[in-house]
Each structure stands twice: as C-alpha cells, then as structure tokens.
Amino acid sequence: MIDTHTYVVYVEDRPGVLNRVASLFRRRGFNIESLTVGHTERPGISRMTIAVKADRTDAQRIEAHLYKLVNVISVEDITTAPSVLRDLAMIKVAATQESRGEVMQLVEVFRARVVDVAPDSLVIEITGTEDKIDSLIEVLRPYGVIEMVRTGRVAITRGTKNGAATAGARSSARLSDDAGVSHSV
C-alpha cells in the first residue's frame, strides 16, 4: 500500500548535502512530495523533513539509502509515530472593499492571520496541517488567489524523545520485519 511517509533526517550542515539527498531521491525514482531543511538546536547540524509517497518496502529502502550518504547522521520514519505535522502558507487573495469582510471572517474561522492589507488584496498567513491549508485555499479560491507560497511539511514527534539522539542507539535491527533498519557506511 502506498502512503505518504514522513522522514526526519539529521544531516551535517555542509555545502552540497541538500543536493546529495535530493539527487538520491531523483536517481532512485522516489518522488519527493516535500522537503524542508533548516537549522537545529545543535550547531553544524541541519534537519530535514521529507515527505515521500512509497510502499512499505520502498520506505525501508529509502531509509537505508539515506544512511548510505556519509553526511546523513540519522533517519527516522515518523509516519506511524505520534507527531505534529505543520505546513505554513502565505496566500495573496484578491479582496475588494465589498469582499474584504467575508475573507477576514474566513481567516478568523481558520485561525489564520492577515499579515498585509492592500486596497485590492490581502496576504494571509496560515500554519497547520496540509489538509487545513488546502481547505482554506479551497474557500478562498472564489475570491481569487493571486499568489501563494508554502513551506512544505515540517514535523516533530510528540513527547520528550529526541529522534536524532535515539536513532544511533539501536543495538539490533531487522529488515525483514517492521522494526527499523541497520546500516553500513
């Protein structure tokens, strides 16, 4: 069964690492839905959130292939882990004097924010799951979406566990079953 898998990947913050990760997905024929990258609480280490459509076997192969990249520190498939997934969008929507009030009400309902007001348009900022953002866009579409930008998915697991800290500590791993993978250089 093909699902969207979400990976949290810690990588060394070095030139070309993003290229290495992106190139891996391209040449192995895995299709990235979204990829975000940013700094972490630790200097010199970046964190990627990668969303990919894959079946279970491919999902395991993706994890194994990521580990073959020397600059990758840890990989965690958090698809089934309790976690918070967020996307951020900024949407420029046409809003005349007549329609502005209605649009503002929708913004309110979705708990989004208006971050810029111009005579003919508004810029709306929304943070939430991709579903929620999709819904807002859907209801805004009749007013005229002029421009839009989305960050792609970022994700973090719930609770105190740190994925990066625990990923390196597994002492045994199996591939023929569900529980994780083991890795070579």
Partner: protein, 570 residues
Amino acid sequence: MKLTGAQILWECLVREGVSTVFGYPGGAILPAYDAMLDYPIRHVLVRHEQGATHMADGYARASGKVGVAVATSGPGATNMVTGIATAMMDSSPIVCITGQVGSHLIGYDAFQETDITGVTLPITKHNYLVTRPEDIAPAIREAVYIAAHGRPGPVLIDITKDAQQRSCELDWDGAVPRPHKRPERRPHPDDYARALALIDQAKRPLILGGHGIMLSGAMKVVREFAERAHIPVAMTLLGIGGFPASHPLNLGMMGMHGEAWVNTAIQEADLLLAFGMRFDDRVTGNLKTYAPNAKKVHIEIDPAEINKNVRVDVAIVGDLRNVLEELLPHVAEGDRSEWLDWIASLKGDSAVRDIQNMPDSGHLYAAHVVHDLWHATDGSALVVTDVGQHQMWEAQYYKHEHPRSLITSGGLGTMGFALPAAIGAKIARPDAEVWAVVGDGGFQMTMAELGTIAQERLDINIAIINNGYLGMVRQWQEFFYERRYAATPLLNPDFAKLAAAYGLTGATVMKRPDVIPAVQAARAHRGTVVIDFQVEQEDSVFPMVPAGADLHAMIRRPSASPIVETSADP
C-alpha cells in the same frame, strides 16, 4: 613543520599504505605531481584517465587494497567517469584524486573547470571538494576508510590548485575519520533462528554465492557451511572464484548465460541462500517467475539491497563472513544427495550441447581457446576479462579455483575494462600469471594502454578473442533482430603488428592445434605477448535467457545440428 597541500596529499597516502598510483598529469594537478617526486610512490603513467581508474580498480580487486587514480581537472576528471561508475557497480574500493582550478575561479567556467563532484555524485560512495590545505588530510583519511569499509566503492577527492600550493601544519591524528553515528549493524538473533530453521527444513536448498564472498574474505566459511549442510553452490559472475570450481558442490555460474542445470535448479529449489549478492536482473530473469517455490534468505552487508529486486523471507544484514561464522556451528549436518543427484542428472543434456564435445569441424571456437587456456595455465592464472561473448565463455570454460582470480566488469558491463584492469592487477600481484581475455571490440576501446604496458615493462599476456564482430550485440541481432547486423562487423588492425609497434610480442592463431603452443610460448616469454585468436565469427553464447524472460526459458545450443558455418570475412 608546515607542508604544502600537495605534500600533505602524498604524506597521507603513503601513511595510508598507498605505494602505487595510476595517473595522468595536467595543469590543475601539477603541484601534486611536483611534490610526488619526493615520496616513495610508484606512478604509472596511463594513456587515458579511464585507464587509470580501471587500473586502480584492477589493483583493488586483485589485492583487496584500495587503488588510487590521479587526474587533472576538467577533461582529466570527466575521463574518469566510466571507471568510477564501473567501480561503483562492482563495489570496488578506489580513491580518485583530481586537481581542480583555483578556488577563486570555481564557478566562473575557468579553463578546464568541471564540477566533478557534481558529475560523480551519483556514482561515488562519497566525494569531496577540498579548497583548503587543512582539509586535505581529513579528506584522504576518510576517503580511504569509506572506500574500503562496509560495502566498498569509489571515493573522489577534488583538490583545488591553491589548496595544493598553500601550506599548513599536518595534523595526522586530528584527521582521523569522523565517527559516523550509525545504528549498529548487528543482525537480530531471531533472524538467525529463522534462517537455521529454513535450512534445516529444506530439501532442495541452493547457495547463491556473490562478490561478497571475496569482499568479506568468506571463502573458507562458505565452503565449511556448504559441506556441513551439504548444499550446492551456484555462483554469480563476480562470485566466481569464491568457491573452488572443482569442488563437488560447485554447480557453476547462474543467470543469463549460466549453466542450464544451475538455472533449472534455482527454479526448482525450495530454499535460496543468497550470500553477498544482489539479485541483479542478469541473474534472476523475470522476477515474477523467479524461484517460485523457494524461501529466500539474504545475507548482505548493504541494507539498501534487501527486498530491492527479490522479496526475501529472512534478511540478515552484516558482513558475510561474520554472519556465516556465527551461523556455522548451529547448522545441522545434512544429506542432500537426492537433490544433488537430480541436479547432476540435468548435466547430460548440457554435455551433448557443449561445443567441447562436438566433433572437430576444423574451426576454432572461442570456447576452445578459453578451455585450452585454462588447461595450459593449470587453472591458476589471474584472468581479467572484458565485456561480451568472450567474458561469458571465460566464465563458463575457465575453471577458477581461487578467489580474486577472475576480475571482470559485471554490473556496469564496461567494454575496455580488461586491458587497464589487467595492468592494475599485475602491479598489485607481480608474481601472478595475468591474462587479459578480451574481445576485438573492447580491446580497441582502451588498447592505447599497450603503451603503459611497454613503458612499465609489464609481463601480461593478452588473448584477443577476435571474431570480427561486436559479438554479443551481433548475437542479440541474430536472435532478436532477424540477423540484421547493424553496426556490428568490425574491420580490425593486425593485432600482432600492433603489439610489435609497441615493442611487444604478437602472435596470430587460427587453428585449434596452435592454441596450446601459443599459450605456452607466451607463458615462457618474458614480457607481454598479444595473441590474436581468430575464431568462428558467428558463434553464440549458450545457454541464453533472453533479457526479462523466465530463468528456465533458456535458448540452448542445438544438440544435433552441425556447428554454425564460418561466414565470409567482413
């Protein structure tokens, strides 16, 4: 004491145990070449940088040590691409060092600038762009480590000219490879138990032996394992030599041109034990019908290979030797005589089709040449083959008893590999009797390296299996394209004269009785001999599983009909 980046490069390579490099100088690598003269390094000047990478590859495969190739920026670096991809596909540990334009010029399309780390990103295990002398030692030490550890492979280090020229302190200890935090590679005990249970229950088990046997040094334990459990062993092309050919449990090669009884046995097996192999499409044929009755146990160092092509029942990720050494004491002693007898009964059908057993028509066949070469060299030569028909005939008819006695380009199928790889192999093992067995097509791709052989005064023997065609492509055209021989006939030079032009010895053989004397003369001769074996032009490699076909759907050599007639010269 401060050293230049170039000095650090050689200092580190020497300390890492490198004594020989294969290379070609040029502008951006000149500082390194200048510094090289002060270090105990044997530099082999190649005729083309592709040759340097194949030599490093041959060196690595023959010795198990890391091979090193050096080239300049731009075209020097891009010429390495084929050799790097070859090493990547066949898990061969090489380190390629390229010069790069000065760091201030990078990105400005400077003369001989190429983004070689970008170009080689998908065909290296890892690569580095080094722009500061301080980063050279860490890059070298880590590159050597990465190339040789885990699943081996190529690593490239691109060093800017200014990084070679500038100076800094060499911090050897500080340059120790960074510890890569990885989940530990220890198989789960349950998987051992499940594998052992499957082995215990199996009535028709088969070991599929791959390149991993050599890479992990598992020859002894594989043999003990097979003998104890009484399980026959089939080899992949790169597995050949990992299990002695003369051993009663060795069935021979599997796959597209594997022995018919091997492929039949795979299809009938109830258990496949895959040892350090990756179920390449040339091995499996149609995946949907591959070994339909067999449970599969995969022992493999690279987790990315698990369930890639063939879904397995038990996967044990780890170094093959370590895993087998853990398993061996728990393997039940078996008696699979019934299964072995059944497989042996299949061989009669192949024997009547074997070219060796057919009446002598007076024609010289490639299989004759390889068979006689095997005979004349007591099966003890280190054979390096190119790619195509001769490669398959060699795999079928040269019986390899020892690991690292067959070096060939398997995964990438790189024509032009044999001659330079044989040079690397000979330099790695000067006492070995090295034979390059090469087709007339592939030989001409890299035959400029005869110049390297002459300059280095090497003693390599070269058997050109000359059928005047790009033979394997011609065979496909015969089978699948109605004998429309598009662009496969070759007009060849006189190879014996070509050898003579380089100051080497040449010979031409056209009749079967002349094969063994020519081989013996070459063996007795000090120095390289090129033998042009002019063989039957339109012979084909049998059996053949057409690409993507079921493994048991082999095209066989007709048993009763006379041998294919010799065609007119092209």
